[in-house]
């Protein structure tokens, strides 16, 4: 190993064993918590769903930062910006669809067709 990775000049979270390990441990914790909440019935329905959702969002961010090395440094800015815009469109399309169909089910009573 004559060429150890040079100190990170770009400010991003470049791949080192350290960052991968931190990300991995966080991901494990954020996986175990929701599975435990649901599997052992620790929380009532609403609380459990919120906990699962929050854990999922945090874990996705953890993966993006520690595994995909996505941040706002110059090298990754284009990736981050396209990612944010895609997320916005995704939110409009998925959110809009759910908003629409919840209402449609409610008004036409074809729930559980």
């Amino acid at each position: 190993m004559s060429h150890s990775p040079s100190p990170d000049a770009k400010g991003g979270s470049e791949a080192t064993l350290g960052t991968y390990s931190v990300g991995f441990i966080l991901a494990i914790v954020l996986t175990v918590i929701p599975f435990a909440i649901v599997g052992f019935g620790w929380l009532p329905r609403t609380g459990a769903l919120i906990a699962v959702g929050v854990a999922a969002v945090i874990q996705i961010l953890v993966h993006l930062y520690f595994f995909l090395h996505l941040d706002v440094s110059r090298e990754h800015r284009a990736n981050a910006m396209t990612g944010v815009f895609t997320a916005l469109i995704m939110a409009i399309l998925v959110g809009g669809t759910m908003w629409l169909f919840y209402n449609l089910h409610y008004r036409t009573m074809i729930m559980g067709g």
Partner: protein, 202 residues
Amino acid sequence: MATTDASMHDEIQAEASQGTVVNFGFWIYLMSDVIIFSMLFAGFVVLSTSYAGGPTGRELFELPGVFLETLALLFSSLTYGLVMISLRQGNKRRVQGWLLVTFLLGACFIGLELHEFLSLALEGHGPQRSGFLSAFFTLVGTHGTHVTFGLLWILVMVGQVAYKGLTPAVASRLTRLSLFWHFLDIVWIAVFSTVYLGGMYR
């Protein structure tokens, strides 16, 4: 421990960056895949209670198996991270070794998923049973198909590393495979949260 000469090493470092044109292009492809999965999720949510008199998710899903699948994918993300670290160190044998470990973990995931699909179908709960099950099999199956192509890609890269060594072109491809593999893990987070864990409460 095989190491390359310094200029080659720098070139590999440069190619392994996500900022190159071709890696940026692959990132844009992943963005279009985000929309594919968004639509599948939207479809799943719309049909998530359309049981047509058939079984519900709560009756069908077995969380321990899903937890094992999740662990397999998570560990494979870590091992792919080790592929990239070994690549930056220019260590060819370690790159190959960690690629194979990643392949095995991914194969475990696919094996578990196939087992789940087959047992559901054999019990008469196949995708033809209800709108809910159609959406379930399609969403989870699309992710599984992606993972399968990822496995094929890993094998191709193991071959390339063996025959070509750690050239800049190979390093560039390994970086894209890294993006792909970590991306699939992210999709899986959304799958187990929405489909399986959320399914326990519908």
